[in-house]
Amino acid sequence: MDPPIYYSKAEYIETDTGNKVSRRATIAGPQNIILGGKTIISSGAIIRGDLRRTGAGHAVVISLGRYCVVGEGCVMRPPYKTYRGNFNYYPMKIGDHVHIGANTVVEAATIGSHVEIGKNCVIGKFTIIKDCARVADGTIVPPNTVIPALALFAGSPGRFVEDLPESTQETVETQTKRYYTRFQPLDR
């Protein structure tokens, strides 16, 4: 069917749960990051697990579900605000089957499952993206936006464009799974 996407074996580290993380990605504070399994982190991505919430206890800063893809040059960092006079970063949660395109900056609070985010987007602080939503390439989503389920957002500032079909969940799921199987190492 689809041709495999090859990567050099030396570049990626594969974990027991099938996560593939590029050595060229910058991952700060890895002890605060959870990857669900079969997640791909491409080269040049920056994931900021060091910006954790202050206070006692073990803090999860960024959690990604299964079959996620973080594109090349993406920046993922948790959002911050002051609450009752205290400055803090707040954790970022991302569901399963989430594709994030290349060079996108994500500062969302929550991203649901089966979400597709295009290339070169800016997702503002504390954005909430519900399940099966899609953000078109180059969209600038202002801070505190809520993107409802099955909606397509595009433009600058990102606005609702149309509803997506109810089959989105299945199509995105098969797509992300296929992407993972296509993503094969090449010995050289």
Binding site: A28, R48, F87
Partner: protein, 177 residues
Amino acid sequence: MAPIRDKYTIHSKAVVCQDVELKGDITIGSGSIVHPKATIFAIAGPIVIGSGCIIEEGAIIVNRRKEVMRIGDDNLFEIGCRVESPTVGDFNTVSTRARVHHTVRIGSYCVVGAGCLVVPTEDEFLDDYTVIYGPAAERRTWSGRGKVQEADLRRKHAEYLREMLPKFNRLRRGEGS
């Protein structure tokens, strides 16, 4: 052209991560924060950064001119922005993915919105409280409401980062190291 001489003067209270690209004559003031993967290039003239500035990952600050590029205090340069302006005042915000050309001088309390391009062909000065926003880089003036809160947030942010970043990142010290 003479080769670029590297000379970094980093204040002892500044937090500059190891994974930062510096080139040329750069002075970073007290309490300023440079996140990993930021880039500061003093190609022609030196760059002087004031105190309490935050430079996030992927931000690029370039000086293409001969004279000193002065950046004031408490500025925030967000992820992936590119600033080449010869002077920057105090308390400005350059948002994610914005680009400011070398023809623009920035006053104080200005905001350049996410993804805005400020690339005029002639020299220009951005007055204090100018806000640039939207895909067409429209402008208006901020009334200054909530200025104290904004300044407070900026200070707390810097304070938090000064405490947190050294716990997870290796730091760079001044003079050649």
